[in-house]
Symmetry: C2
Subunit: 345 residues, 2 copies
């Protein structure tokens, strides 16, 4: 990627407080860096805000990214920040269109790292088909931040065939997971200071809007809810749904897809993959008749090649999530208490 985007000459090798001043250095950083690499018609206007034409109702979602380390196996904070918000907008049943991009940089961040992150943002936006149209850059003194934090906020136009609403969920609906779980969390953990272990596990960060749009096109209202189980993992997301619907969720543990290397790493470290973060996975709660066809459609996409029906919504166990293991034993999966892996996204 770097070959295609050589770093321009900046006056400084590192980010300084002056780059957040709103004055000359901020302008130089933006002119030579941000505006040039991310350029598009709206951003070029350089107003404090962007003027957009979006038809019909819109979806609007925000996320701040504080992941550590900034560069990790399979991605970096820039790519994650684009994909994360693109996916949150997509989970509303919307087509992501525009992003805002706001940096909080720590004084001393090497300019080369900032550049690599910008390049990564550029390519992630191209892949997901979205544009950065407005932004902000702040700099804090050494020790008041940690290299780089990024906020992205996204706007999408609602897909006319989408009818995503938690209130539509009823007993009998099927729960589908789009791919193998726990990959992102284990990829990050494998490079955490003090915990480094050898593995080839790569983060699953990716944009999911293409899959979601295809599903909504083909199955419309049969898709009742979409969620991406990032922080807190599958368990926390399903618990939120059980709580908000006051229905039960029954999972078959054997059906939940997981990469064998990820499963082994979880076991060694004593972590439950149900609570481990995902970035390129979503769950769909769907009308039972269409569940098999929806899984087949998902599997058309390489990034969803392990899609599977993993459970059912039930009248029993209202507000709870239960898993059944291979021997038929049931256990309640509660919401995550405390923090397994801080700064995972």
């Amino acid at each position: 990627m770097h070959l295609q985007c050589p770093m321009p000459k900046f006056d400084f090798d590192i980010i300084t407080l002056g780059h957040g001043s709103g004055g000359l250095l901020t302008n130089k950083l933006l002119d030579t860096g941000v505006f040039d690499i991310l350029k598009n018609e709206t951003l070029d206007k350089r107003h404090d805000g962007a003027i957009l034409n979006v038809e019909g109702p819109i979806a609007f979602s925000t996320d701040s990214f504080v992941i550590s380390p900034t560069f990790f196996p399979g991605g970096d904070i820039g790519e994650l920040a684009v994909n994360g918000t693109v996916n949150d907008v997509a989970m509303c049943g919307a087509i992501p269109k525009y992003l805002s991009l706001s940096f909080i940089l720590e004084e001393g961040l090497p300019m080369t790292e900032f550049w690599d992150i910008l390049v990564s943002i550029k390519y992630a936006c191209e892949k997901a088909g979205v544009q950065v149209v407005t932004g902000d850059t702040k700099v804090v003194e050494r020790g008041s931040g940690d290299k780089i934090f990024i906020n992205t906020t996204g706007i999408g136009s609602m897909h006319p065939k989408a009818n995503i609403s938690i209130e539509r969920i009823q007993a009998g609906d099927k729960i589908i997971v789009s791919h193998q779980i726990a990959t992102h969390g284990m990829a990050i953990l494998s490079v955490r200071k003090g915990l480094e272990f050898e593995t080839t596990i790569q983060s699953d960060t990716t944009h999911l809007n293409d899959v979601v749009i295809s599903l909504v096109e083909h199955f419309g209202a049969d898709i009742k809810l979409l969620r991406d189980p990032t922080r807190g993992g599958l368990a926390s997301t399903l618990n939120e749904i059980a709580r908000d619907t006051q229905l039960g969720i029954s999972l078959d543990n054997e059906l939940i897809p997981i990469n064998s290397q990820v499963a082994a790493a979880c076991e060694i470290l004593g972590l439950d993959p149900l609570y481990t973060a995902n970035e390129g996975v979503f769950i769909a709660i769907v009308k039972p008749d269409s569940a098999d066809a929806i899984v087949a459609e998902m599997r058309q996409f390489e990034k969803c090649s392990h899609a599977a029906i993993i459970g059912t919504v039930t009248e029993d166990y209202a507000g709870k999530v239960l898993t059944t293991n291979a021997l038929g034993g049931k256990r309640v999966v509660s919401m995550q208490i405390g923090e397994q892996l801080p700064r995972i996204c």
Copy 2:
């Protein structure tokens, strides 16, 4: 304000890493705190994103706030974060409607401080007539942040009578400033560690959308550009305009309104008020015939009671900003180099 919003009972006195886990503690903090105090129909749905109906073209703007100290004379980071983005949206000629709200909290932040900031956000939203409709909360370890950083991103609907565009500016247009300058910067500086000095200067943070809407209603296309000169002050904003229009800007130094206490503080500290940050001030570049009437309309608002015409757009000095002093001497006012006051917003 606190009397009206007593703090609920939280399990912890401080923010812990678990509050950013996406699990139980995050949910408790949101249920008891954020969702309850900021509640509205859209936020109550608790999806990852909000579904909004906004008519016509929209304005979209983002800002991250890292101000230090968090609580300062005349306001706090919560109020600032609402007003700052509301004003950026308003400067597009739009009516601000919806905000996203994203926190990056440092482990150890006292829960009482977080609550005070939430209350402040609530009241600032009410005053500005906007709703928080979606959000995010992350927590970083002690020493990787500084108490609290806030990103707000705003959406507004374009006012049908607005025609704000830098391309419409021409020689002869008048430059109006809405109120006394440099107040925010000096209020913050007066409480900075190592610099504390006794003063009654209060930040001018306020929402300006009411003034802007009134002006656009009455003067429509006669208003060619609106900008709020925050970081970098009046000088940096006017330099950006001179650069982007390739016209000159001629200011009469004697006409720029400034509070006498603020002016004295700037003089003692050797700071130029033209580079000092504002929060409750905007500049308008307007058709010359309407300039006096626009100033009169602004002055109807207490927060714009010192509105004044401070200069003219010229063919001369293309790309530059000049001031004339009382003796007729001219000097070039360049864009701010380096950083006068880090973390001013």
